[in-house]
Amino acid sequence: MSKLRKDYETTLWYRLLCFVNGEEKPQEEPEEQVRVEEDKTIAIVPEDIWAPVEEDKRQLYDMYRHWTLGRGMKLFHRLYAVFAVFICAVIIGTLLYTVSYLPSFGDAHNPDNNEVAARYIEKGLQETGAVNIVTGMILDYRAFDTLGESHVLFVAAAAVMILLRLDKGKKGNQAQAAAEENDRIYEPKNDAILQKVAKVLVPPIIIFGIYVILNGHLSPGGGFSGGAIIGAGLILYLNAFGFAKTERFFTYKTYKRISIAALGFYALSKSYSFYTGANHLESFIPKGTPGAILSSGLILPLNICVGMVVACTMYGFYAVFRKGGM
């Protein structure tokens, strides 16, 4: 109904509505008329009369503006630093006060050494077949957790690739892509020391990584650490010899295939226990004698899968950060 009123545009409600919608006030026209009249009156007076006032105004404005940009900014930063240190000191103090009430370090009767740890230690070898109790725990009792971890790595690699991969088809990326390509040609600087050292070191590093992965259920280590070692070896090789050589055996396609195959195998082999019931976690693969390489059922293949995913992800991170693609 109110729209039918003639003076609707001057009502409080309409102005509030405009304010809420973020529009300009609908009172432009009458004000402009007034301004035009004012301009006429000003035009008669010589402009010099207003110059000192304008100068004063400008000075005042500059003072305020420079205060926020110069001294005000400095003051703000100093206050911010003081408050930041104060807050950090308060947090450290509170946490240290809490730590002083914690049970002492290395005591066997601490509340975290409860029946869960006891169960893992007492029954772990029989139930998982792994001599390394930590591996038995993370790849058998809590294998879903580890599956999630591998997926976190995979998703992180995918996200980094989305953010940094150069799309060569797009306009504007051409120059950058050409620069990267140029960089790749001149990248292996043929550093004699680096190449010799890499020639000697890379095979033992990769073999050691494979050893750590394959012995994950027997000794300290496993898929994550072994995969990281293999990734480090690949990165060293890449640094010494350049992308032209690594691309003979490791491209984006290889990365995709290895990651998807490993994660798919892991997910399938562990999700079968969903269908057989949550408590039925025994696998059909025999446990074997504890201490042998081929023992402990699914743990060894799962370790290999995790190791492949981690190695590919480490290398992929490096390659994407270095040249925006693999």
Binding site: D112, A118, E149, F224
Partner: protein
């Protein structure tokens, strides 16, 4: 209080490291340094967790000679938790660095205040 802190010196060091990382995160305006502070905080948490699992005079949880006594081994649960944490922190660091690179390519600065100002100017 200080004897209690000395009895838990690993936890104390972890808390101080955490504080250093947090201060770094708040005081530095450079994004890369902020990420380094974040990683220091991560390491402090791992130190704290790993220290919680230790028991004096016991072996690492790898069954040797068939001994399966609770009295023989330390607590294996914190080790598994630290492993999870390390993997996640690697992923998060890589993601943060990638985002920083994208910001740098767009605004040509790593200062977070300047980036905020420039992005506000762009919005106008």
């Amino acid at each position: 209080m200080f004897t209690a802190l000395w009895n838990n010196v690993e936890a104390t060091v972890a808390i101080i490291l955490f504080g250093i990382g947090f201060t770094n995160l708040m005081l530095n305006r450079n994004m890369i340094k902020k990420i380094i502070g974040f990683d220091i905080m991560d390491s402090a948490i791992y130190l704290f967790l790993a220290a919680k699992g230790y028991i004096k005079g016991r072996q690492a949880p790898i069954v040797v000679n068939g001994i399966q006594d609770v009295e023989a081994y330390i607590n294996p649960v914190p080790a598994g938790l630290v492993l999870t944490g390390i993997v996640v922190s690697v992923s998060v660091s890589a993601l943060m660095l990638a985002l920083t690179i994208r910001l740098y390519r767009r605004y040509h600065t790593l200062d977070i205040d300047e980036i905020t100002m420039l992005s506000r100017k762009e919005e106008k």
